[in-house]
Amino acid sequence: MTEHTNPEGKERIGVYVCHCGTNIAGMVDVEDVATWAARELADRGVVIARDYKFMCSSLGQELIEQDIKEEGLTRVVVAACSPHLHEATFRKACANAGLNPYLCELVSIREQVSWVHTDKVAATEKSKAVLSGGVERVIHHEPLEPLHVPIHPATLVVGGGIAGIQAAIEVADAGYPVYLVEREPSIGGHMSQFDKTFPTLDCSACILTPKMVTAGTHPHIKLFSYSEVTNVDGYVGNFTVTIRKKARHVNEELCTGCGICQEKCPKKVIDDVYEAGLGYRKAVYTPFPQAVPKFPVIDVPNCIYFQKGTCKACEKFCPTNAIDFQQEDEYVTVQVGNIILATGFDLFDPRVVSQYGYGRLANVFTSLEFERLTNAAGPTNGEIVLRDGVTKPTSVGILHCVGSRDRNYNNYCSVICCMQSLKFAHLVHERTGATVYNFYIDMRTAYKEYDEFYQRVLEEGTLFVRGKVAEVTDAARLPQEEGKLIIQVEDTLASVQRRIPVDMVVLSAAMVPRHDAHEVAQLFGISCSSNGWFIEKHPKLDPVATMTEGIFIAGCVQGPKDIPSSVAQGAAASARVLGRIQQGEIALEPVRATVDESKCSGCRICNNLCPYNAILFHEDRMVTEINPALCQGCGTCVAACPAGAISGTCFSNEQIFAQIEGLMRVNFQHEKLAEMA
């Protein structure tokens, strides 16, 4: 391309170069960039070019507004920080002065120039080049109007742990409908498995059950337990969600929750979920007495009738004829405006840390198993005993950081394990009087009243050994080790190797993302980190939103955290949703991709590339269409289309080529010097 558009400066362009204090000015000669632009880019339509200490300040914005009014600017280019931060600010300034906000272009000379370079001359020249590119590009901008979409007042909450329950109740209390979808037969999540909660040691069930009951009976909450979301269509404000209600084989209309079926069912099964594998349930079961809803489910793969064709004991004894072997899965479709994901975490499987012997050595327990041991409703009625079911331990070793802060497994800290291990130490003292050893790398007791709890456990006489345990073994070396589990550890404070014989070992295992986190993220069109935690929109400033409009996250899906933080996130997510609902509609960026149907060959290459699931394909006409409300304008499909049929507003081919042209216009002085030398 040799001929330039915008001849004779049809557009009147204003250029603003920000110092950002010394953030930019320290590495880029900003004054030089501004004077250069006024001189060299005048033929491209630049009528005014200024530098200013803080463009984002009110005074900086007013500068732009004033110039638009007085100089009759038709385009604005701001060379400052990343558009992520201040694009909205400068667009608003333009709009205030009556200029269509989409005629403003932000050029990043901070993240992409001053922060990443060390040569001031070169950095100044690069700033000129990217600025020149921005000027060429802005010429091709078009005035756009934001898309307005109405917000459906209903909300979907996925996951009925404490975070999801909190979110559901808050939205429902404000008077808006909520669908709460829980995969297991009852809501409650991990919290329902605990006996006591740190740091106050209040009874987990006592504080959780009221919330579960509220969620189960709230007039605005429709609870789908034993259910899963199978499909999500649509976009913010207007999602269509399909929920599969798995067949319970119990008629909820008739069942009174009396529990006779469970009593009579002859089939005992190890309960891997609620009892963490440490206890049994029946083939027809409610996971725990306070379950919400109260209706049992029949576990088909384990039911004698379903497998062998005879039994039906439950049916025979049910006083209300509620057992229904014919029941089938039911699919329900609901409309919602926003979605909150609160699917929680899984416990790290310590079998892979083979040197700790979990699965081989009977008296090595996971933290969740230990929670069940201490729980009055657990398999031992709250008795802390060895795996033989009767023997009380006289010494217990608790290992912190199993699978956390270990580059063989997970680099991160699981946040709760130190406190949870202290809680265990306290419970062992209180209930058995056994000697307790805690093996820790660092003691992490941040947050309110946590360190005070640590002091208390110290005073109770727990023995703390700082060091990562090397091995747990039953191979005794000394007579006093016979019949014990021996913990081999380097005590890094005393600089000695220790072998400590104990009766019971508890592994404080890491929190890990749900095993199906990647599939769930894909279903809802949000991103998760490579290890599986869902990614928030901004780690500090937007912790419960996601990059996908209308989808929020709360609780341990986002990363390891304790109950107070999970509850806070549940409430925060619901506040964000309520704000949306009350606005009634939402303005969406008009920066969207569109398909030129006449050029589309129907090759479908773009179809699966869109990270936001915004692309649909019309089988009948063999063409692709992009849903403007879902599209986030990322440009992936534009680049992928071999027919060039897709173009994006704000990033059309024309604009991109013009920008490249602009970049090339700048003669790199120092390069020439280098060549001459």
């Binding site: 099964v269 050595l361 073994t473 191979a475």
Partner: protein, 328 residues
């Protein structure tokens, strides 16, 4: 017949003669064809790398150079001794990871008209070949005389699964390859907690009392589990546990009589090969009594240690991969 290059190492001809004899017997049934590296030299065992770097790697690499020259398209070099296996892998790995070391070693090799490019050969342990190349299915097919009733303690030692540069082993702390192989032979395999602990290496010479303690731990643990024999995959482990057992007894006033055999010897027995051809009788702690039990129904004594392990009453044990489903 799959062809492999083979590095025997010094011990195979001397202290581990039984290993060599039994290995030669089972190669055929396993469909393995081993070609010995011509004029190989000692790998330096655990000593050479302790006092030098370039000379030690040059010593090892002469073998790699000879093997690659002889390879004729065969890429895999098999070692039967764990120390040799580790040294050969180590040289190959570090010559690639630290190019300057690789260069220096090659300068030295050039003095003898040799060269070696790291990565040319794939260095593997005999056990790895049996498990992953031959496969347990083939092994099972060859078994004609299952070792029914023989309680064995699978003992790998520390050098096979660690540091495992190529990630070939199931687990570096608690690998189960040898367990699975011995189960395939029909033996009753105990869950030996010290399976990757140290046998003492050259401590038997350097600091005998240190070695005696390490040997005692291993033997007494196997004895606690009522193992009839211990099974090793390494000449050095066998030598320490077998030849120094009497001395260890003497030192601690104990009276262990734990036969220590090579896995190839048991494989040979299970394949129906005559025990004489398999080097039986070369062990200092005789395996005669233990072996006489095979095939003869002996009342099973309940081992005292495993009482702490899985029990059918009480709380359920966590399920492990490969466990059978618990049925009510």
């Amino acid at each position: 017949m799959s062809k492999y290059l083979f590095y025997p190492g010094c011990a195979m001809q001397t202290s581990a003669r039984a290993y060599n004899e039994s290995m030669q017997e089972v190669l055929g049934p396993l469909g393995l064809n081993f070609e010995e590296v011509r004029d190989w030299n000692c790998c330096g065992a655990t000593e050479y790398l302790g006092i030098s770097t370039v000379p030690a790697y040059a010593l090892i690499s002469r073998n790699l150079a000879l093997a690659s020259r002889q390879s004729n398209g065969v890429k895999t070099l098999v070692a039967s001794c764990s120390a040799c296996y580790l040294n050969l892998s180590k040289a190959d790995h570090y010559m690639a990871e630290r190019p300057s070391l690789g260069q220096m070693v090659n300068v030295a090799l050039a003095e003898g008209g040799l060269e070696y490019t790291p990565g040319t050969l794939e260095i593997r342990h005999l056990l790895d070949i049996v498990i992953n190349e031959v496969g347990l299915d083939v092994v099972k097919e060859r078994v004609t005389h299952p070792l029914k009733g023989l309680r064995v303690a699978p003992y790998l030692g520390c050098m096979v699964p660690r540091p495992d540069y190529e990630k070939r082993w199931s687990d570096y702390e608690y690998p189960d390859e040898l367990d699975r192989l011995l189960k395939a032979l029909g033996a009753e395999v105990i869950d030996f907690p010290l399976k990757t602990h140290c046998c003492g290496g050259h401590m038997a010479q350097i600091s005998p009392t240190t070695a005696f303690e390490l040997i005692r731990r291993l033997i007494s643990s196997a004895d606690n589990y009522k193992a009839d024999v211990m099974v090793t995959v390494c000449p050095m482990c066998q030598m320490n546990l077998d030849a120094y057992q009497n001395e260890t007894n003497h030192y601690f006033h104990t009276n262990y009589k734990m036969p220590v055999l090579f896995f190839t010897q048991l494989m040979g027995l299970a394949f129906g090969i005559d025990a004489k051809k398999l080097g039986f009788g070369r062990e200092l702690v005789s395996a005669k009594e233990a072996m006489s039990r095979i095939g003869i129904e002996v009342p099973q004594e309940e081992p005292k240690t495993p009482a702490r392990r899985k029990k059918t009453t009480g709380l359920p044990m966590p399920k492990m991969p490969g466990d059978e489903e618990e049925t009510q």
